[in-house]
Amino acid sequence: MTTTDPSTTTRAPRGRRRLGDVLFAGGAQGSGILILAILAGVAAFLILQSFDSLAANTANFFTTSEWHANTREEPAFGVAALAFGTVLAAAIALVLATPVAIGIALFIVYYAPRRIAAVLGYLVDLLAAIPSVVYGLWGIGWLVVQLAPFYAWLETYFGWIPLFAGPVSTTGRTMLSAGIVLAVMILPIITAMTRDVFLQVPQAHREAALALGATRWEMIRMAVLPFGRPGIIGGAMLGLGRALGETMAVAMILSPSLVISWFLLQSGNQTIAAHIALQYPEATGYGVSALISAGLVLFAITLVVNMAARFVVSRRKEFA
């Protein structure tokens, strides 16, 4: 058998094509393509619509903080302060929420009695269902009032850390307040994700650690956290994604100004999402297009964050 007929060998044997299979495969494929199409459509819309104002912009879009876009003559605007505020607020939220979320998840899965764990898990899920505007109301109506004296205390004792330098905002409507409310908002997402991966840690790994004479905490460090790491990062990134794009709560709490400021206890800073929401109703001239260009930046930031997260998760895949 040195020669074979290519027409009989290259073609895989084809079974009868069943209508159900064809429909299902087509539907699944279509859904997959739809995602790509939506993503591409949004990106195309943002790029096309922002082009108008970016071309007319007299200032450097990436280094300017001011926002004079509601005009037809010589608009000058940039996203420097907005992008900075967006990332800062989300970073504060992430730093505050992630350890607490891991703690709650560990408590639910490994420490709490079963009944308490079930109730707690349910409460965390409930927290996720609260609309962001309600968080905003809670933040401005109650939380910032409670936080103001705490901020004064922080400034008195930790004012030497530049982040906490005064003069402290007396209203409490600061970046740190926004970050705290965002942290509460993303807490349930991160907790739910981490709890799910902790539940998936194979019993074999946990018993391996215990059999070596690990205490419960050592078992968690040896078997649970390393195994759950991709899930923790994934959860944190989902939370970060929500924090970056969160609009209402920030718009309500923060007293905005377009500056780049590291002083978390002073009023100032603004995020892209809140800025778009507040400015859109009054946008004239190049205003709308300029806001869309800010949206494009937000879109890009979220995309980069997610890609970075995937990179981190997959980096040590052979060990997972």
């Binding site: 059999a211 070596l212 004479g213 690990a214 195994f227």
Partner: protein, 259 residues
């Protein structure tokens, strides 16, 4: 190093369910004791009471005494964590930590006992343990590779290395070869014969030839009946159990006639 295990009147429960009833036995140091018996007769459950792994299952508890030399491991002032450092365990399925390298797997337990382990000491422990598990030659050039990348038999020997790195006095093995091919099984059996020099070894096995090959003493467990607890039927020198057992039940089991 190796210690004697003395069990008296041990009842093992899952909640209210009595799984194993009234076991008393003595396991001599530097010997291999095999537990045989049909599935579900409680031999693995009983094995897990010897290092207090049984109580990891919610609701699980025991009544009775287990003496390790002269120390009752179930006395109230004994920390189960300490017991498990003294009584190592190898599981049915190889379970190296998937996120750790071969090196880190071996040193994982030893690190718990001694946080500030110097690099040279750690290297020594890793090499000694891997040599002890007959794995050193195969992995010495790739200690930084993931432990999960080894073959099943190598993974199981890695788990044995990890267990002996803690320098326990007893090594419990819960069907250590049931997930392995015959060649790997042979390697583990050879290893057990070597480890016997330094440890008290207890092995649960479904494979009667294996029990006959590796053990000095064999204990036969059986259910008292459907839904009834498991019991120790007979225990004695392996030779005797496999040639002239005293109980009819044992003879039926080893000759393949159940019931």
């Amino acid at each position: 190093m190796a210690k004697r295990i003395d069990v008296s009147g041990l009842h093992v429960y899952y909640g209210d369910f009595l799984a194993v009833e009234n076991v008393s036995m003595t396991i001599e140091p530097r010997s291999v004791t095999a537990f045989i018996g049909s599935s579900g007769c409680g031999k693995s459950t009983f094995l897990r009471t010897l290092n207090r792994m049984h109580e990891v299952t919610p609701g699980a508890r025991v009544e009775g005494k287990v003496l390790l030399d002269d120390q009752d491991i179930y006395s109230p002032d004994v920390d189960p964590v300490e017991v498990r450092r003294e009584v190592g365990m190898v599981f049915q399925r190889p379970n190296p930590f998937p996120t750790m390298s071969i090196y880190d797997n071996v040193i994982a337990g030893a690190k718990l006992n001694n946080r500030r382990l110097r690099k040279s000491e750690a290297d020594d422990i890793v090499e000694r343990s891997l040599r002890g598990a007959n794995l050193w030659e195969e992995v010495k050039d790739r200690l930084d590779r993931p432990g999960a990348g080894l073959s099943g038999g190598q993974q199981q020997r890695l788990c044995i290395a990890r267990a002996i790195a803690v320098e326990p006095s007893v090594l419990l093995m819960d069907e250590p070869c049931s997930a392995l091919d015959p060649i790997s099984t042979l390697a583990i059996e050879d290893l057990i014969a070597q480890l016997k020099e330094n440890y008290t070894i207890v092995i649960v096995t479904h494979n009667m030839q294996q029990a006959a090959r590796v053990s000095d003493v064999t204990a036969f467990f059986n259910l008292a009946g459907t839904g009834k607890p498991g019991k120790l039927i007979e225990m004695g020198e392996t030779n005797k159990i496999f040639t002239k057992p005293e109980k009819k039940e044992t003879e039926n089991y080893i000759t393949g006639r159940f019931g």
